[in-house]
Symmetry: C2
Subunit: 385 residues, 2 copies
Amino acid sequence: MSSQPNHPALLIPGPIEFDDAVLQSMSHYSESHVGAPFVATFSETLSMLRKLFQTTDPSSQPFVISGSGTLGWDLVAANLAEPGDDVLVLHTGYFADSFADCFETYGVKATQLKAPIGSRPQLPEIEKALKEKKYKLLTVTHVDTSTGVLSELKALSEMVHRVSPETLVIVDGVCSVGCEEIEFDKWQLDGVITASQKAIGCPAGLSISMFSGRAVKTFQSRKTPPGSYFASFKNWMPIMQNYEAKKASYFATPSPQLIHALHTSLTQILSRPLAERFATHRETSQKIKKAVTDLGLKQLASDAADQANGMTAIYLPENVKAPELLPNLLKKGVIFAGGLHKEIAAKYIRFGHMGVSVTDPKRDDIDRAIQALQNGLSEAGYQKA
Amino acid sequence: MSSQPNHPALLIPGPIEFDDAVLQSMSHYSESHVGAPFVATFSETLSMLRKLFQTTDPSSQPFVISGSGTLGWDLVAANLAEPGDDVLVLHTGYFADSFADCFETYGVKATQLKAPIGSRPQLPEIEKALKEKKYKLLTVTHVDTSTGVLSELKALSEMVHRVSPETLVIVDGVCSVGCEEIEFDKWQLDGVITASQKAIGCPAGLSISMFSGRAVKTFQSRKTPPGSYFASFKNWMPIMQNYEAKKASYFATPSPQLIHALHTSLTQILSRPLAERFATHRETSQKIKKAVTDLGLKQLASDAADQANGMTAIYLPENVKAPELLPNLLKKGVIFAGGLHKEIAAKYIRFGHMGVSVTDPKRDDIDRAIQALQNGLSEAGYQKA
Ligand SMILES: Cc1ncc(COP(=O)(O)O)c(C=O)c1O
Ligand SMILES: Cc1ncc(COP(=O)(O)O)c(C=O)c1O
């Protein structure tokens, strides 16, 4: 039995539904942020993150900081690039625009490489861009939450290392860590930033990231001090290293309750092989995508290889309006999200399928959602052509 | 009956003990950050903050952002000052050094006015400093958590408005909001930054602040863009205004669970007159300070008028060592904090007395703590001279 009162299933691309045990950890009694019990919890949490990101290289550095996914952009822009540096931002939707804005805030010149809505920049054009200019780092949105487009990291990183070996490979994994395969070491990634509230399955409030030894060295050889105080590696790195080594340490007060919840969700995730978790997300995603196609609907991500496994962005039929459909779905007990990509926001909806809604066999969120979508569309007068 | 398992009473100057209902709100089931139910909760929370800060001026602007107290410094330094500006930082301990560091990160020149440990800069010297140079803003730590020194805001603000009317008056209220009197409007304050985990009585993870219409105008007339992305007024102000007006809006995902907990704690605080809450903290503080004096011990804050009402920083007797005393107090079920002021950290301990430990008549945390301190000292061989 769930300890959560009856409530609509939250199937937006984050925040997601949370497991009972994770939510119970949120009410942990108060502990000192520098006392031995909490220090041990934080230490284990940081070690578990290494497993989640699949890194065993001791020079990799995890960070968990009160904030949200957005703060990860500040971590990258204020620590790994310096004013005047050029960076290449691969654009697959809304979130690349914001990441680019963040770079500009810190005086970093962001060049965006854009693809048509629903697709992603292709390797040959990225290679060409990298050959034309020296970029300090390249960023890629692993899953763009505004379009449901999945980017391919392995081949991208290989190409960057071949063509421009000094360019750091930085991944916005806010909508992918925990549901899409990421092999930090093997793919030679330099930074993956994410947040707690999506596929990691812990309430919002944490910026979570992993940086490579190479990224740390880039930081250490800066000529200018970091551009942010709250997001400064200089301030946080010794703290993270101390916590992981079970030594109390203070820069700014962490949230023991959120860290406990993250500890619980990571323990659950790592209790089974990660490969199995990714496969389950893939299978569920395929079931959903098939149902969408069977309904005669199209996705923003037209090419199957570019489709995310933790969410689906679905074009609405001509005469169905999101401001009418979404409240009707809510009445049926499921919450979907509206569109987010500025140019076409009114024309599509987003269905998030990450975490316990997908992995917990006792839950029927996904089947109920597919059913609700079918009924909702037919009640809106839609019939497959 | 408490729903929290038996645990030592956390009597450090933050995080503090939390009420059962506040902790239960932390486990709220997942909600969309842009759905009507959560938007209503956030709206009410922002309105309640106006009451807590005692501001009815509609041009005052509250902010609640995932982060911690430290993020409030970035809000001030990156939005209210511009590179090259001079600011005056009144120094009463550890936290002024860090605030000054934060200003320097954003290219702002921080001049510190220091007082001997345990006291605070006096009005005549502050007045002199303000007459010597034009300062964009002045900061004062209302309660310096490293020394337990309380600063006087009313007379200070009056003097600043008289001597240097263009200088903004900014208060670090991380260790004072919720337990020390603050009249935002009447005292003509321009900014008070705080955090959730101290006298407000909500788990750590939130930066909470209030800025005056004058501060907002200062921001709006900047010549340079804000220095931070995650801490940018430009990004957050419309979001806060929308949420308060019950309109969904997105810049970065807030934490519904933390906001629910804050909503619960603010509802509890505002269910009784604020004056009564401050009086209760004052009375309990006086009882503790009397017990400390009766034990023959001295406080860092030597002058009674400079002593905080939510914490007490106590010099240890000659032969008593904190690394032995504190674990013994833990065995007796109370957690105190060690010293934090770099120059004398080993020589004193800190006793936090804020929130439910003080206001909830069903709790005996404070009496148990005084008793534990008496016994712990005598077990350490200390006898009053
Ligand atoms: C791909 C991506 N990047 C960054 C963010 C920003 O994260 P947050 O909203 O937690 O600040 C999001 C949020 O949805 C996202 O989906
Ligand atoms: C007076 C004061 N200012 C700022 C801070 C920083 O707040 P946080 O640790 O929540 O980042 C603290 C924390 O104890 C504090 O006491």
